[in-house]
Symmetry: C2
Subunit: 646 residues, 2 copies
């Protein structure tokens, strides 16, 4: 029996909210929201199994709004259904319909684009930068499968948005992993922001693309409730992932919003009555004086809660190295940080079932392959598609897992926009980038990572939910990499670790501890406090020895983490007359900037910084390349001597 009437009726009721709230806000995207109304109503009122008073339950079906600017449609439905909002149990409350008019206000939980961290727990991830939602849905789908939950994930994607390559990375990934618990709905309203969408994003070509990618594509009228519900029912039964390609109308129901010049424009306050009247006319035509909607499907039984923060009982490093089959290398006291991290990831996986790992076809370089071999169910091969990898990790984190996403540090840069959205989500993802900096040498600059230290340090001074928006770790040896991996797993929030390709000697004993913001002093002197980390710490150890032979005694500080705690730094500097030399194998904005900021804030010394001063090229050895970019031991020694002389 058709329920088109009641669904239309509800759609029109929500349309009124959408118009009013965006007019009140003075900004927003009502025309996009209106194009999605019937899809939203079909999902949230009729198809999805969820409970508005329990949006945290991992058993419930889930909705990802990839085209985040259409969010007023969701807010309206959620308020109408009595959905719960708030950041913590003390502030939980039903979202009142009147509260919709606070859209985009400073104190409102209704942000301009979906943002779970500001008190709207119906969403799992911040969206709004386009093209990420299908990947988040993939992560949620993986999480559901891991938990053996039959929850289903729905994701709403704009037609213009489907131009973003990440959508097709996600389409491949979902096909590879046969995630038929994910259903995508493409909202084909035919209009982008500046113009109509390209024919390449028409329903026909989108359908053909999806079919070629191995999906079942179902063409539907996005304003036909019966057709939508039938297609959604079909998706539940399909062995393949299903995409609904929904032809819709931008500004549905409101003639003043249908032209292509109306993207992102609310109706002026004075025009609102006419627009609402226009909806009355539509209502008279389509609802047939329908009865109210009833019978929402129940949330699946068996509430699943997010796992508690439990301490992680990771095996000690010697045992971890043995477990990873690395005892020989360990005993030689020579190991690349990336390899030690691989052993740590394996040990973490053994210690805690929440640990999962992702890689982008380089697991034999990042050494996540050890984890993959031991825990194939918790390892997700993303192939060469880093954007999808990061957003998928966000979906896994929202499912209560602690995902470690691995690639060359250089290739993680492919996903910096996704990283930023993860920071808005306050997602608990862990990023590990290998082969960073100039020590990679022979492969050349296209494989190195040089702006990453500055990029991630930027987040370290920004408050997020449980601390900085991102904590960075720069291990110099195997012990540091192993211990820092554990710090990452235990810290709640985004973390970044930067590892290097070359084998390096051990600096630390197996019992050395590390902490967020900490630093270790490795040599004592009074000439200059040399501050470094990672691979360059080894070059600086050599420098300290060379200088000692020349009668110059330097302090050496391993400042391995951002945000940087000023105390150990300033103590090191005091011993050296306030002379600091920072040495880093990356572009400006990292260690030297952090030290200069701390010192200059206190008017306390002189800071010189040596960074990579030239775009690198290939060289057969790290030492040769260090010479080319101005970071050889000789040049560092020379700089220290200058500082001492001045």
């Amino acid at each position: 029996m058709s329920i088109a009437g009641p669904l239309h009726s509800k759609a029109i009721e929500l349309a009124r909210h959408v118009l009013r709230m965006t007019t009140e806000a003075g900004s927003g995207h009502p025309s996009s929201a209106l194009s999605l109304l019937h899809v939203v109503v079909a999902l949230m009122y009729k198809h999805m199994r969820w409970a508005p008073d329990d949006p945290w339950n991992l058993a419930a079906d889930r909705l990802v709004l990839s085209e985040g600017h259409a969010v007023p449609a969701i807010y309206a439905a959620y308020a109408d259904l009595g959905g719960v909002v708030g950041n913590d149990p003390s502030s939980w409350r039903k979202l009142a319909v009147e509260e919709l008019d606070t859209l985009r206000e400073a104190a409102s939980v209704l942000d301009g684009h979906p943002s779970p961290a500001e008190g709207f727990p119906f969403f799992d991830a911040a969206t709004g930068s386009l093209g990420m939602g299908l990947s988040v849905a993939a992560g949620l789908g993986l999480g559901a499968r891991l938990r053996k939950s039959d929850r289903r994930i729905y994701v709403l994607i704009g037609d213009g948005e489907s131009r973003e390559g990440q959508i097709w990375e996600a389409a491949d990934f979902i096909a590879d992993h046969r995630l038929n618990n994910v259903t995508a709905i493409f909202n084909c309203n035919g209009q982008g922001q500046a113009d109509y969408v390209s024919p390449q994003q028409s329903p026909e070509i989108l359908g053909a693309k999806l079919t070629a990618f191995g999906w079942e594509a179902v063409q539907v009228d996005g304003h036909d409730p019966d057709m939508l519900l039938a297609a959604l029912a079909r998706a539940v039964k399909s062995a393949r992932p299903v995409a609904l390609v929904a032809t819709t109308e931008k500004g549905w129901g409101v003639s003043g919003l249908k032209a292509k010049s109306n993207h992102g424009k609310p109706i002026a306050r004075t025009d609102l009555p006419v627009a609402l009247e226009s909806l009355d006319g539509v209502a008279a035509r389509v609802t047939g004086g329908a009865a109210p909607l009833k019978d929402r499907p129940a949330q699946p039984a068996g509430s699943i809660e997010l796992p508690h923060d439990a301490p992680i009982r990771m095996m000690p490093i010697e045992q971890g190295m043995e477990y990873a089959g690395l005892s020989a290398a360990w005993n030689k006291k020579m190991m690349a940080t990336r390899r030690a991290y691989g052993a740590a990831l394996l040990a973490l996986g053994r210690a805690d079932e929440r640990i999962v790992a992702l890689d982008g076809d380089v697991s034999n370089s990042t050494f996540s392959e050890m984890f993959a071999h031991h825990f194939p169910q918790r390892f997700f091969e993303c192939k060469i598609a880093e954007q999808n990898m990061i957003s998928t990790a966000v979906g896994l984190a929202a499912s209560g897992y602690i995902p470690f996403a691995n690639s060359f540090a250089k290739f993680l840069a492919r996903a910096y926009d996704q990283v930023e959205l993860a920071s808005i989500t306050r997602s608990n993802i862990k990023l590990v980038g290998s082969h960073a900096g100039v020590s990679l040498a022979a492969d050349g600059p296209s494989q190195m990572s040089l702006p990453d230290v500055a990029y991630f340090r930027g987040y370290s001074t920004v408050e997020a939910e449980h601390g900085p928006a991102c904590v960075s770790f720069h291990p110099a040896d195997a012990v540091a990499a192993y211990k820092m991996a554990r710090l990452m797993a235990e810290h709640r929030g985004m973390c970044y670790m930067r590892t290097h390709r070359p084998d390096v000697p051990l600096v630390y004993g197996p019992d050395q501890e590390f902490s967020i913001g900490g630093a270790h002093r490795l040599a004592e002197g009074d000439a200059v406090a040399i501050v470094s980390s990672g691979f360059m710490l080894h070059v600086c150890r050599e420098v300290v020895e060379l200088l000692r032979g020349q009668g110059i005694r330097c302090t050496l500080l391993d400042a391995y983490s951002f945000p940087m705690n000023p105390a150990p730094l300033l103590a090191a500097g005091r011993a050296c007359g306030g002379r600091y030399l920072c040495v880093e194998d990356n572009y400006t904005g990292g260690l030297g900037s952090a030290v200069a900021e701390i010192v200059a804030q206190r008017q306390g010394g002189r800071v010189e910084t040596m960074t990579c001063r030239r775009v690198p090229k290939s060289a057969r050895t790290a030492l040769e390349l260090l010479r080319i970019v101005g970071l050889s031991p000789e040049e560092i020694c020379g700089r220290v001597r200058e500082m001492v002389r001045e």
Copy 2:
């Protein structure tokens, strides 16, 4: 008549070089290179119209190696053909075959991955981070069409690489723009780095995808010379863009390199004789004692040279505003920097035919739409696909154009990996990001740009070809935006401009000049030197007035560009007892770091910095959000008072 014999023979000759040079280098990807041999020989020896002694000629056909790690195959062919290398006329020379053994050496032009800037002018763009080549080819294709040249562009793409979403962004773009002068060859050797490629990247599914994207997909045996040449000939005649989906064998001809564990592994020196012998056996089977290859097609007549650096005669700002239809706003002395930039782009387009523009469906927000309306032939709508936009701009720059790529600053972050590759290319692209920083307010953090200042500043201290790897501009008003757009156009090298959404009053008169690294002093005082730029400069002007009312006189410096010239900064600080307060609407790593570095290097003062200290959310006004993130005028005043008191 079949020329399979001679082509096989040449392929085997090159294979020997590939094996030897990678063994000599001790690193590299011989197995990938071997899978491409026949494609390379068919193109470089038989199909492409080019001259090895004239690689700079814009009339010649062009090859883009997207899977950059396979480059030894190209190097071997280029040396065999007597291709010219060198960075400038004084160093031009034929690449000797013996020089192949310098692969990856510090002094070699043969970098580990394609890198035109290190002396290998056969390439237009650095590649090696995967998935970018098809977009570069699209830019070269657009450039050829603009010049009415019939040059053709060939691009070699790995099968695993085609997982990168950018490939599909480029496929859409090339279909939209009907660039049938671009031919893609997908190298389906079936192996990635860590494992076999996914079935999603099999020749069959790749072919189906390409067909769905509107391409003509031709399945070929990538080691069958006749079939390759016939397909290439067919591509020349096709009205649609053509892709050859070439099934190949990784490690072709060398049994020891065929297993999937051999990605990126050269043959050990001791095993080289056996491998070369294995090639002898293949040669005996396939070459048929062939005659040498002859008859390369001639380079098209009519040499086209890169246009000279000519000064750009841009109309004065008043005239420019009138030309853009902005006289009314100009006369009110209130205008957003993004709008003034739009007028500047239009005036630049009128002044110089080398100016081209790209946008990602936001031209009515970035105001590149004015350029689009006046110069539709030189405007390229990229739709919502920023990665493709940036790499396409690199292709246009390599064709002698000066491309301005426009989007929200936030969405340019989508392409930071592409930006980094552009820096390795030393590409002359201009990036303009609008709606940056917290002043966007209502739309929320998913649309702002917060780590961008630190990211781009990192490049400003790195030497590239004609100056810093990237110059950044942060205009505070319409005059600054207009003049800085011209500085960007005239500067040879990558530039980034960050504009803001809100209308702001004019700070400068129409004759004010600006320079790379410059700064302007806007208020004189002795209390604290406030250093700011962009939107926050207006907040700081208010702060200066507020403090003046309290008897505190501050110096205000507009430090609008990176790299920062220390002189005006230090002069401003000296007047204020060495007290600096930096104010910026972004995350750490920008202005405050630059100032701290300069001051701390000279042991000359105290630097406080106020950045965005919390992940932003929506607010209805910029002022409300400034309060939330700790940047309100009151807080800035408070900090100044503290500094003065201390």
